[in-house]
């Protein structure tokens, strides 16, 4: 489906949602029966999906901790999911301003409910592939003032986007941001040779087909962002390695993260 043909996400509790499945495998309560049933199907095909999901979230925690230590106080996060435990606003020091965003309207509504009493946090609807809708909104200027030195979170979403969507988002964010800004993202370093037809089909049926990119492709798509420390395995970033016998699929080993620089 062409980017412009994408159907705007709708609130539908009768259909499984990738975000709520992610919540379920992490032990959360923000999911419906249909999400849990689909999660069970996915877990049969990808038993280490919960570990993989944790690595993705840990990488967010890792990147945010590092960036907060470097003095970043403005964060814009895409495909945020539910800002429950160990999310940006819980990690960063007081006074930090965070804008979360997501495509799923239920997630957005929930996110807004969770952060409603927090003056330094906002949650808005935005598709990660079209960040301009968020960047051009009055909220950003109102919230951040004239400063555009920000840290962008583009974590665990690249595999749901096509090449042209990633390239567009990266270029848009780069052009908007001030010199010195950062962008952290993670993705699987693999290509179409990775055959997981049943799992792929499940995600496709949910309306969130998965697209593989190699790190080399991702580097090209992320240009002109500079690579910083490079695309490293998430285990290396976090310092926690799974036991080889617990690895049921190649996914965890394929996860790469990077903190890009402008």
């Amino acid at each position: 489906m062409a980017d412009q043909d994408r159907v705007t996400s709708i609130a539908d509790a009768s259909k499984p949602n990738a975000g709520r499945i992610y919540d379920y495998v992490l032990g959360g309560n923000h999911n419906f029966e249909v999400d849990r049933l689909t999660a069970q199907q996915i877990l049969k095909l990808v038993p280490d999906y919960p570990q993989m999901a944790r690595y993705v979230r840990w990488f967010l925690g890792e990147a945010v901790r590092r960036l907060a230590d470097q003095g970043f106080r403005h964060f814009v996060d895409f495909a945020s999911g539910l800002p429950t435990v160990d999310h940006i606003h819980q990690i960063t020091p007081a006074g930090t301003k965070v804008i979360y965003s997501d495509l799923d309207p239920v997630t957005v509504a929930y996110g807004q409910e969770i952060i409603k009493d927090l003056p330094g946090v906002r949650y808005v609807a935005c598709e990660a592939g079209k960040p301009e809708t968020l960047l051009n909104s009055p909220l950003v200027k109102e919230f951040f003032g004239t400063s555009r030195k920000v840290a962008f979170g583009f974590n665990g979403i690249a595999f749901f986007l096509k090449d042209e969507q990633i390239a567009h988002a990266m270029r848009t964010l780069y052009e908007w941001a001030d010199e010195g800004s950062r962008l952290f993202l993670c993705d699987f370093d693999t290509d179409a040779s990775l055959q997981m037809p049943e799992a792929m089909d499940l995600f496709k049926k949910m309306g969130q087909p998965v697209y593989w990119h190699t790190s080399q492709q991702l580097r090209r798509l992320a240009a002109p962002w500079r690579e910083g420390e490079g695309f490293k395995p998430l285990e290396e970033w976090i310092g926690v390695a799974m036991r080889p016998e617990d690895k049921k699929t190649p996914f965890v080993d394929l996860l790469r993260g990077a903190i890009l620089e402008k």
């Binding site: 043909d5 159907v7 992490l26 840990w58 925690g61 957005v108 509504a109 929930y110 976090i238 799974m242």
Partner: protein, 649 residues
């Protein structure tokens, strides 16, 4: 207890390390994704909390600690493991202190139990709270989605474009009200389930669904079929409807009635065609005019010389008559090509209609009824009254002919009506070349044979006539078109074969007041004296003017273009009047006039031209020329003009 506490506090680092290690082992067992770095901190916090509890259970709220851990995302397995690690630590460190071990284990048990109790209670509350929050979020999202859907639904329903939804088999599943209005259906249920091909008049439209399925979208123009069987052109824009997975589930087609656009497009094409024809005819008319002028001029000269009762005089009269007919034709053509503007006076079309009626009532067959319907306070227009009369006469003659079928007695009604009309931006969109404003309309309507549809496009083209070769020149409507266009007006034609035709002419209203008409008397072939420089690139015209001027008593010298004229002018001969052509090679009339005035600001110049509507001649008047002599020359008028301007020196 304080002794055990003191002993264990000495080994707090070990406890911290053991708890950290245990928490690390269970890094994947927590809810959400408690970061490993946070787990290390938690190990330290738990060791402090437990040792504090050991020292004084009243000072540490183990229940609250359990609650915090639940909120932080610690899993149930982890908290049980922590309690176990605390007991294990006590056993390890106090195995040789039997008196201290029992109470320490009891304290560890109690601390663990309270933690777990707090943890479980909070977990339960969190689950309920999360579920409630999720329910509220879903409800809020659904509500906002419902509002958005309502707006979208309303927008699609009330769109001025016709919209049709079909399934992949091409059966109608939904249509909006504009669709119903366009196709003439009373209600949507009448159309539901119908194949979309039922709404098309042309065979090729049936291919639209195939094109769509392969391309995902289609734009084009099709001929639609209304419920009553009538057809009309529509602009179609169709696209596949896809679900979230990207699978096609139907087709949405949007329609715009193209009737009006096509009509306007045809008007524009027609106007462009007429413009091109006008330019072509203009060129021919100009050359033909010059030829006629040369022939006519020499004939006039010869007529002055030939005895009136001679055979040659009679023959020359025949030639002159033919030239006059030819000149008449070119004069008419010049109206069409807009080479002549005529005069502009403030006139009432009612007067023009009444004058025409005076002629018609005596010349039209009595069986044709003539009806006038004139608005009493008709607005004024700026026009040439003679040209207005000619327009009306041409239209009325056509109307008469349409009511005189060969072999049948003439019959019918000719109606001429006038009206004040204000064209709004909306109304003006009916006409390709119109603009909004106040107009005066005159309509000439007959009840004759009407005009066949295939002739409509060629109606105003010169020399195309439906009449017999003898009765029509094919210039009548071309002249009407030229005159109306030249007056910034426009024409609308409505005709139904067998029922009649109506020509509606619209002229822009003027707010100027009517003045007395300027009547210019033309004298005879007046004689005079003085030196006249004739400048014209056409040798024959130059020769006629020179001959006439000589015959009238002037000294005439001539030049073939502007450059030659300047040479002659500079030779020290006293030139009283210059007759200067506008369009010439080498140096044109306008440039020549400027140079002449530089040399002699008092120079007297008359301009000759066959294109009075061309701005150049008018411009030359503003730059010091005294008047314009129109070609083809009327020798009497020419002589009078020369005498007038040379004598007013």
């Amino acid at each position: 207890m304080s002794l055990a506490s003191a002993l264990l506090r000495e080994r707090q680092d070990l406890l911290r390390a053991q708890l950290g290690s245990r928490l690390g082992e269970l890094v994947f067992a927590n809810r959400y994704a408690l970061h490993p770095r946070r787990l290390a901190q938690l190990g330290a916090e738990l060791s402090e909390s437990f040792l504090g509890f050991l020292e004084d259970p009243a000072k540490v709220d183990a229940l609250a600690k359990g609650q915090d851990l639940a909120r932080e995302g610690i899993g149930a397995r982890t908290i049980i493991a922590v309690a176990e690690a605390l007991r294990s630590f006590c056993r390890q460190q106090l195995q040789d202190e039997a008196a201290l071990l029992g109470p320490a284990l009891d304290a560890a048990e109690e601390y663990g139990s309270r933690c777990l109790e707090g943890f479980m209670a909070t977990q339960e509350a969190l689950i309920l709270k999360d579920q409630e929050q999720l329910r509220r979020a879903l409800s809020s999202a659904l509500e906002s989605q419902s509002r958005e859907l309502l707006v979208k639904n309303h927008a699609v329903n009330t769109s001025i474009n016709g919209i049709m939804l079909t399934d992949l088999e091409g059966k109608v599943t939904w249509v909006n009200s504009s669709f119903l209005a366009l196709w003439g259906y009373a209600s949507a249920p009448e159309t539901i389930g119908m194949p979309m091909t039922a709404f098309w008049a042309e065979e090729d439209a049936r291919r639209a669904p195939d094109v769509l399925s392969s391309s995902g979208g289609w734009r084009g123009e099709l001929l639609a079929k209304r419920r009553d069987g009538n057809s009309f052109p529509v602009e179609v824009s169709a696209s596949l409807i896809r679900n979230e997975e990207g699978t096609a589930i139907g087709v949405m087609t949007s329609f715009v009635d193209a009737t009006e656009r096509k009509r306007l497009q045809a008007q524009v094409i027609q106007a462009q065609k007429m413009e091109a024809l006008g330019q072509l005819a203009g060129g021919i008319t100009h050359d033909f005019n010059n030829l006629l002028m040369a022939i006519g001029g020499f004939v006039q000269i010869l007529l002055y010389q030939a005895p009136r009762d001679s055979r040659m005089h009679q023959d020359l009269m025949q030639i002159q008559s033919a030239v006059e007919r030819g000149t008449g034709l070119t004069r008419q053509l010049r109206f069409f090509t807009r080479q002549t503007t005529g005069i502009r006076a403030v006139v009432s079309l009612n007067d023009a209609v009444r004058e025409t009626w005076e002629i018609l009532k005596h010349t039209f067959p009595p069986e044709i009824r003539i009806r006038l319907d004139l608005v009493p306070s008709l607005h004024m227009i700026e026009a040439d009254p003679n040209q207005m009369s000619q327009v009306l006469m041409n239209l009325c003659v056509n109307a008469r002919d349409a009511m005189m079928e060969p072999g049948s007695p003439p019959r019918g009604t000719l109606t001429i009506e006038t009206e004040n009309i204000t064209l709004t931006a909306e109304k003006v969109s009916r006409y390709a070349t119109a603009r909004p404003g106040d107009f005066v309309a005159v309509r000439v309507r007959d009840t004759g044979t009407g005009i066949a549809a295939e002739v409509h496009d060629r109606l105003f083209i010169p020399f195309i006539t439906t009449k017999s070769v003898r009765s029509g020149t094919g210039l009548g409507l071309a002249v009407v078109y030229g005159i109306v266009t030249n007056h910034q007006g426009f024409i609308d034609v409505h005709s139904v074969p067998g029922r009649g035709t109506e020509f509606e002419l619209l002229f822009p209203r003027t707010l100027r007041k009517r003045e007395g008409p300027e009547v210019e008397a033309v004298s005879g072939l007046v004689r005079g004296s003085g030196t006249v420089l004739v400048v014209d690139d056409d040798q024959q015209i130059r020769e006629i003017m020179r001959r006439v001027l000589s015959d009238c008593g002037y000294t005439a010298i001539s030049a073939g273009d502007g450059r030659e004229a300047l040479e002659r002018f500079g030779r020290g001969i006293g030139i009283d009047l210059v007759i200067l052509d506008v369009i010439m090679p080498a140096l044109g009339g306008k440039e020549c006039l400027a140079e002449l005035r530089k040399r002699d600001p008092a120079v007297r110049v008359l301009v000759t031209t066959g294109y009075t509507s061309d701005g150049t001649a008018q411009e030359m008047l503003q730059h010091g020329a005294l008047g314009i002599i129109e070609k083809p020359l009327d020798l009497k008028a020419f002589a009078a003009m020369v005498a007038r301007y040379i004598s007013s020196k």
